[in-house]
């Protein structure tokens, strides 16, 4: 770059260092400013998004606590490799259900979904949050495309047997999509295992409270 205006100070090392340093300073200040101005709003949005999703699977009438704030992370290695986020719902002080954030392996990669279960262990609703399945073939798991996902509503470990928790092709209760069985299979089994997790967690929690009560009394 042979500019006419090319005074000698330009070729000093100090100038170049200062230029880049100054740029970095300026920009990081700018970003810090931007961040301070926006981060609260953004955090709020993220929380709202989460609640909105929760709303879809769990009726507002079921809880009056802040499930997000009460959320805890649990792990059942034999059911899910990864830790599970669980959002408990309480009405008054009464346990009224919980939402579980789960991930299973689909055809094209991880399949992230949220499911809500009421206190009796019945599925209230399931929604897929994130997935990499083939569009057009397996995206009927999204509610906007198909109501297949509502097929889980009302199911529980007691009203559907172990064998029935499978796609029809595997002699179960649930429809598969023609030509794409793996995705439904993964979801069905994910919900089934989710219910089992819920059950374990419930039992543990109940045992704990009982223990607490006992030790307290």
């Amino acid at each position: 770059m042979a500019t006419i205006l090319n005074p000698t100070y330009r070729s000093r090392l100090g100038y170049q260092a200062a230029l880049l340093g100054g740029m970095c300073y300026l920009m990081s200040m700018l970003l810090i400013g931007g961040n301070t101005a926006t981060h609260q709003l953004i955090d709020q949005h993220v929380l709202n998004d989460k609640l909105a999703l929760l709303d879809q699977v769990m009726p507002h009438s079921l809880y009056d606590n802040d499930p997000v704030a009460d959320s805890q992370v649990i792990q059942y290695r034999d059911l899910f490799k990864e830790p599970i986020e669980i959002l408990p719902a309480r009405l008054g002080n009464e346990f009224s259900g919980a939402a579980l954030n789960l991930t299973v392996q689909g055809w094209g990669g991880p399949l992230n979904f949220i499911m809500a279960v009421d206190a009796s262990g019945q599925v209230l609703g399931v929604r897929v949050i994130n997935h990499k399945e083939t569009p057009g073939l397996a995206d009927k798991i999204e509610l906007e495309k198909d109501d297949w996902i509502t097929g889980f509503d009302g199911r529980s470990l007691s009203n559907t047997s172990h064998i029935q928790w499978a796609v029809k092709k595997d002699n179960g209760e649930f429809d598969q999509f023609t030509g794409a069985t793996i995705t439904p299979r993964a979801l069905v089994s994910g919900v089934y295992r989710g219910l089992q997790c819920f059950q374990h967690w419930r039992q543990q929690a109940q045992a704990q409270t009982r223990a607490k009560e006992e030790s307290g009394s």
Binding site: L13, A17, L20, G21
Partner: protein, 174 residues
């Protein structure tokens, strides 16, 4: 939070200094390619390319102001090596000028010696006041002789085809 700014600024200062330093310490001499190109050119400074000599032509080629096939004495071989050096697609070039050879019309030549003084490659033979002739092996077709010939007896023609230079043409189809 402002530690962050500090860190980044420091990083910027450091990197800026480093890059400035690198540019200085590792500076390379100005365009070595021009020299390389010039070394490839015939060096007869004949001017057929339209530039005042080979070094001007080399500069123009490197800057993209001259086609790599503009030098008729260099011919196709030169064009190809230049194209490779400068990474130019040969197919993008138009037709190259054909190399020429000078011939002296013996019936008109008066032996004035003007042509052989002008010839940059000493391709013209013949002493004063004798008929001059061109050694085709040494003639680059620069037309300098033609320009100075007072009798207008020099003409430039493409090299004639002989049994030695003939070869099969490229087949048409397939």
């Amino acid at each position: 939070m402002f530690v962050a700014t500090l860190v980044l600024t420091a990083l910027g200062l450091l990197l800026g200094w480093l890059l400035g330093l690198a540019a200085r310490v590792f500076a390379v001499e100005e365009n070595p390619i021009v020299n390389e190109v010039e070394a490839l050119l015939p060096g007869t400074q004949c001017g057929q390319c339209g530039f005042p000599g080979c070094s001007a032509a080399a500069e123009a080629m490197v800057e993209g102001n001259a086609a790599v096939n503009c030098c008729p004495p260099g011919g196709r071989a030169l064009t190809e090596s230049l194209a490779e050096l400068l990474n130019i697609d040969l197919n993008s070039l138009g037709d190259a000028p054909v190399p020429q050879l000078a011939t002296i019309d013996e019936t008109l030549c008066t032996g004035c010696t003007k042509c052989y003084k002008a010839c940059p490659t000493d391709a013209i033979v013949g002493a004063t006041r004798q008929i001059h002739a061109v050694i085709s092996k040494a003639c680059t077709g620069c037309s300098k002789c033609k320009d100075v010939c007072p009798e207008d007896c020099i003409s430039l023609n493409p090299e004639p085809l002989t049994l030695n230079t003939w070869h099969w043409t490229k087949p048409e189809a397939a």
